[in-house]
Symmetry: C2
């Protein structure tokens, strides 16, 4: 997605060869026009798939998620993150390890919002090791529903998440794939679009 | 806002005379068309105010916030909530007490995203005691910017937040004001629109 690549080049800050800061348009300040365009692009990529629900995770997935849900004409559900919680019969729970924060969170979705027969598109802002996406996919499968695909805003393609998700059989579509952050610069995996 | 009142009546669950659960369309599952209409309504209410930024707080404020920012053609910033954090010179920090959770969180916004001269519209999903809205307003004022108004999706008008904010000089516009949740039923403060 050319508009997003340009934003990454113009405003992304390479903090290390692992960390790209995009807080001016994606995960602290948000550019609403860019979010809307992302929603259109995810809808185009998953056209004809009869998606019934979009599922994301708080907080940075919500804006691209709601724009995608608006374009698709389906509800958005966002999973909540919690340190730990008392077991409840009415929610799906999965454990997700964050490499960035070096901690395990529980992510939860109320059972009443995903059902057998649902065709679910998972949306998230970043893909690195794939922990969050796998956790969301397991929740969809706990519900007896189907993961139609995983839409990612920025994939760090030098980390294993994308490969692992594809090996597990999921369709992954990333709007931008970054091959490397070496030498303080962003290199895209697909430079020509 | 009639569409929202109808949603509250159809899908809101009165858990007690203090608590209204709206997780089917506002704060867990989200209705994207309703969010878009909210964005239009906030834009109509604050028309002509030359707003330069929308500010909200994670997580449930993000969807109405991004739709309002899209309509207004300005960026959205969402404040992050944290239990506590090491002091940093590059962020604004305010303490916010949650009556629901009976805990104090710190809310933070990077200083680079709000500046002197900004005209800020604060958006949040619920208004009860006003703690979050006051915290966001204090951040705007720390930045030397101006709070143009506070847009609330659902105000529990039987709790003091709305009155306190108005007494402090803020313009508050709530899409729906609830007068009471007594006897398991929702009574609106403005039944006729």
């Amino acid at each position: 997605m050319q508009l997003l690549k340009q934003k990454v080049l113009d405003e992304g800050i390479v903090l290390s060869n692992q960390v790209l800061k995009v807080d001016s348009f994606l995960n602290h300040q948000m550019d609403p026009v860019l979010m809307k365009e992302m929603g259109k692009e995810f809808t185009r990529l998953f056209d004809g798939q009869n998606i019934t629900r979009v599922l994301t995770i708080e907080s940075s997935g919500i804006a691209p998620g709601i724009m995608t849900a608006l374009e698709l004409g389906v509800p958005l559900i966002f999973a909540r993150k919690q340190k730990s919680l008392t077991l409840r019969h009415d929610i799906f729970v999965e454990k997700v390890f964050s490499f960035t924060k070096q901690e395990t969170n529980e992510i939860t979705v109320a059972k009443k919002f995903i059902h057998s027969g649902d065709r679910v598109l998972i949306i998230d802002d970043f893909l690195a090791n794939g922990e969050a996406a796998f956790g969301l996919a397991r929740i969809v499968e706990q519900a007896g529903a189907e993961v139609i695909g995983i839409g990612i805003v920025i994939e760090k393609a030098f980390q294993p998440g994308g490969r692992l998700l594809k090996e597990a059989g999921y369709r992954v579509e990333s709007l931008v794939r970054i091959a490397s952050l070496d030498d303080g610069a962003v290199s895209f995996a697909d430079p020509l679009e």
